[in-house]
Symmetry: C2
Subunit: 266 residues, 2 copies
């Protein structure tokens, strides 16, 4: 999969690119089932909401074969390699649950703010590429982004340790209001298998999910190899330390795995 | 304004009716400005979120002329008089703020559950008719409703006194999941001046508002006069005790008021 010059231009201007229908139902069904199993496990990589519902699972690509294939998938790796003009490595890998009824808010923030402050990442030459495991609807806690906000660089932020179970460097209301006045707010929605890539400085958030519909999204943070982090303060399963470039698997590797591990239709 | 037989049939089946463009920008601008002033006041009728932001203001029609005109407006009163086949009175009058960034959740509930349990209202012959003061978007905490859920009568509920600053008889996750499986979930969105009427037993909720866009909605609960409440336990500014039928004002009364009290363009 190669991005067109029109798509690269759109990304530069808007700070994100939304690509529906990147993965098949079959590929997503197996990842959904694996994710639900991962959330059931009591392990340090699985973080929970204050209610006990799963919030996010880190580093599943290091211990789960299906997610290992996703982390090495050419449909994710190639566009970012193309964008950065060099190899990329996995800086972070999260499966965010946004569980039915209990998925809590992620406050307004920029990701690069955290990568720079906590991990000493030199430049915003890393970004998230996310894959919708469930259908993301307007009503089930979609990711909200502020187009063009990446053009403002890294903004001042405060370390919010109290709103949720996950500490985050968050932006104040005045800043978010100003940026939304310029760029608006969009919440890309779509079927499982849709993909969203967004700039490390793009301001984003997501509201709680009060519906019966879970909204799982995998976030791969891929970083240009030459831009690897320099401060190893967070655990290695949150901010990875293997800076070798990803060698992609075959394009049909995940589909093959899905066929070999078919899950019952839902 | 008279509802067509098609609209009455749709209401019977779905439990709600959404009517865009019922009031003009001019009419809504003056109500928005009055509502913001009301929220600033320290009075018992104005309830706040735990953050201090306004949550709801009760009974503004009893002390504010613009909202008095709205509570007597034929575009609200006539459809309900037509629906119930008799005069209606104001059982409750709320301006729900869903403030920018701070507006909190309203959990899944039925309104008639509260009117029956707390106020001794004999039958669900009352309903909400709501008017959007701000634009209601998918992203700023819209009202979510479960179509057809009114057909199940009054469901078992628990009294939730802890989730928000407002105690509410709420439904459990299993019930909401079952109803949503049957009817889906819709979140009507639209410009200021849109109107939504919904059955007293229609299950509804609204998520927190994490955007910079406030989302004020006025909820008039109008009750058939012969169905007035019988248990006077809640304060009279929450559950009114004047059971005389509303005598509507002229259709242009609010527009005239708006012209005489023009607010600066936003």
């Amino acid at each position: 999969m190669e991005l067109s010059s029109r798509q690269l231009k759109e990304f530069d201007e808007q700070g994100y690119l939304f690509l529906p229908d990147c993965f098949s139902d079959e590929e997503m069904a197996v990842l959904r089932a694996e994710a639900e199993n991962i959330y059931k496990a009591e392990r340090k990589e699985v973080w929970r909401e204050s209610s006990g519902a799963p919030r996010t699972a880190f580093a599943a690509h290091t211990y789960n074969e299906a997610f290992r294939l996703l982390a090495h998938h050419p449909r994710l790796v190639e566009p970012l390699r193309q964008f950065f003009g060099e190899g990329v490595y996995v800086h972070q890998f999260k499966i965010n649950a946004k569980a039915a009824f209990e998925g809590d808010v992620w406050q307004w923030h920029q990701d690069y703010g955290t990568w720079a402050r906590d991990d000493g990442m030199p430049e915003p030459r890393a970004m998230n590429i996310s894959v919708f495991l469930d259908e993301v609807m307007a009503i089930n806690g979609p990711l909200m982004i502020i187009p063009k906000s990446h053009q403002h660089g890294t903004l001042a932020a405060g370390h919010d340790k109290s709103t949720t179970s996950y500490p985050l460097w968050t932006l104040d209301q005045e800043t978010v209001t100003r940026l939304a006045h310029e760029g608006g707010i969009v919440a890309p929605t779509g079927k499982p298998g849709s993909m969203l890539m967004f700039h490390g400085n793009l301001v984003h958030a997501s509201p709680p999910n009060i519906t019966p519909y879970p909204r799982k999204i995998v976030y791969l943070t891929l970083c240009a190899v030459s831009n690897h982090i320099t401060r190893l303060t967070r655990p290695e399963w949150i901010a990875h330390r293997d800076f070798a470039p990803i060698v992609p698997v075959a394009d049909d590797a995940l589909a093959d795995y899905a066929r070999a591990h078919r899950v019952a239709a839902e």
